[in-house]
């Protein structure tokens, strides 16, 4: 069964995938910098009428909570990474490295880049976890 991205089901399955990953547990063990919110920009054409946040409460290698949030709530996270739907699709398919994407302007980061780059391996593991979620993209 596939889950539409983004949706509550997808985010919930993603949180479970993160917590099932020994690699992420190891790579993110020193992450104590607070939640990260991934914001998918609104796109009417694929029935995504408003910006949608994927809130990940990450702490020391564990995802303590994963939920969908609105745009306003998303901005409360200390790290907010924003991109168009097509960009997140590239990330989930491992066609776009998220850290390089931020540095190239394909994804927008609000927050401290030096902190993020210290966790390159954790970021890659988070992407690996996303690839394990059976995903249905809204534009397909």
């Amino acid at each position: 069964m596939t889950h539409p991205f983004p949706s509550e089901e997808w985010v919930s399955a993603y949180g479970e995938a993160v917590n099932a990953s020994a690699s992420y547990r190891d790579a993110g063990a020193k992450w104590t910098h607070g939640p990260v919110c991934l914001v998918v920009k609104a796109e009417e054409a694929i029935n995504l009428p408003a910006d949608t946040g994927v809130w990940l409460d990450l702490h020391q290698g564990v995802c303590r909570a994963a939920r969908v949030v609105d745009a306003e709530t998303a901005q409360q996270a200390p790290f907010v990474i924003t991109g168009e739907y097509a960009r997140w699709k590239q990330v989930i398919r491992k066609e776009l490295d998220p850290i390089k994407g931020m540095m190239q302007g394909k994804l927008k980061l609000r927050g401290s880049l030096p902190i993020i780059v210290r966790f390159v391996r954790a970021a890659n593991e988070l992407v690996n976890c996303a690839t394990r979620v059976p995903t249905r993209f809204l534009d397909e």
Binding site: L107, K108, V117, V120
Partner: protein, 391 residues
């Protein structure tokens, strides 16, 4: 010849800055401000420049009735509090255009002030990468050093006193609209600073050429920057009043800036960013010190080593047919140039204690430039030998 590109090469080259070059071109400032739609141009400059030179005054005279005021409190490695004070001064003066006069600190401070003038709030609220969704206050940059290339880059680095590090800002909207390159304004730069900033240019160019983001447009710019540094840096240091050499170095700085603004920089910068603020080592001097060591480190990967051949040619170095020989020639060429311009060669002589090296190696991994090193780095243990070699 540059090394072959990936057949699936795809890139965007972003270079929106209008470049005005020539001796005396600072006098074009008023016309350029007018073309930007500005009527109240506000100068951002550094304390030393304002108190010891007439360079900000030349800019003020050039602006004529469009001059709205000056903020001259920028220090080397400008801090957030200075940016916020500068923004307040610019706001009070009714500024609608910023004119930075100085080196990287003045230009980066003006970029950060432009954000606050447009968006309000504190700089902390705007920390990020590619975070702006609209243009900010127009910025005309007038560099008085030939080093950072900040006059054409999308980057600004501001000292973060609260966290004890640096805040890195990057956004396409931060590239100045206009850069006025007037070689006459660089004539007074002392030899040591000319040398350090010149080696900064060389490092920008070489790292851009090795970056995983390398692409033909940036490569062409970077290679020409290497040629210009090889031909003119020593002369600019040894005969500071040689206007031709100064002009060529100013161009080299801008070309390298255009290259690395698109292709990024790598491990040399990560090392220099880590040690510079902590031990007050000039950024270009630190780059010069690490550059040969990083070249040898990167060249241990054959596919990376081959990329140094074009650099060796641009430096005018003879290199044998193997990739390792090209990289070795480049490392030796960089060392020889740094020696010629009398830059320090060892970290230990610059106040860095040996017992700090392990911690510095850890901190290196937190610098964004690490991501763009051609040889991937995942662990501090991989860079510790570089710190020891440079010590």
């Amino acid at each position: 010849m540059t090394a072959p590109y990936d057949p699936a090469l795809a890139f965007v080259h972003w270079a929106p800055t209008k470049i005005v070059y020539g001796n005396g071109s600072v006098r074009e400032a008023a016309l350029e401000v007018e073309a930007l739609g500005g009527s109240r141009a506000f100068i951002v400059t550094d304390t030393d420049l304002a108190s010891k030179t007439d360079l900000p005054e030349r800019a003020r005279l050039a602006l004529g009735p469009r001059y709205a005021g000056t903020f001259s409190e920028v220090e080397p490695e400008s801090a957030m509090v200075i940016v916020e004070r500068g923004a307040e001064a610019a706001r009070s003066a009714g500024a609608d255009c910023l004119v930075s006069v100085g080196g990287g600190s003045a230009m980066d401070t003006a970029k950060a002030i432009a954000i606050l003038l447009t968006l309000g709030g504190t700089l902390r609220e705007h920390e990020g990468y590619h975070f702006l969704d609209r243009s900010v206050t127009p910025h005309l940059a007038i560099p008085t050093t030939a080093g950072t290339g900040s006059e054409v880059t999308i980057f600004a680095v501001i000292r973060d006193e609260e966290r004890g590090g640096k805040m890195h800002l990057a956004d396409n909207h931060l590239a100045p609209e206009v850069a006025i390159l007037d070689p006459e304004l660089t004539l007074g730069l002392p030899p040591a600073l000319t040398a350090g900033t010149g080696m900064d240019v060389l490092t920008h160019a070489i790292e851009a050429l090795q970056s995983p983001m390398r692409q033909p447009v940036a490569d062409a710019l970077a290679l020409h920057a290497v040629r210009l540094v090889a031909r003119h840096l020593a002369r600019a240091v040894e005969a500071g009043d040689d206007l031709a050499a100064r002009g060529q170095m100013l161009l080299a700085s801008t070309l390298a800036g255009l290259a690395f603004s698109n292709a990024q920089v790598g491990l040399v910068h990560a090392l220099a960013h880590t040690v510079g603020p902590r031990y007050r080592i000039h950024h270009g001097t630190a780059n010069a010190l690490f550059l040969p060591h990083v070249i040898r480190f990167n060249a241990e990967q054959p596919e990376v080593a081959e990329r140094y051949r074009a650099v060796a040619e641009a430096l005018g170095m003879e290199a044998g047919p193997s990739p390792g020989e090209a990289a070795r020639a480049v490392a030796e060429g960089c060392e020889a140039l740094a020696r010629r311009v009398a830059l320090p060669r060892r970290l230990g002589t610059l106040g860095v204690p040996r017992e700090a090296l392990a911690e510095l190696a850890e901190l290196t991994l937190a610098d964004g430039a690490v991501v763009y090193n051609p040889r991937p780095i995942a662990d501090a243990r991989e860079v510790l030998p570089l710190w020891e070699a440079a010590f």
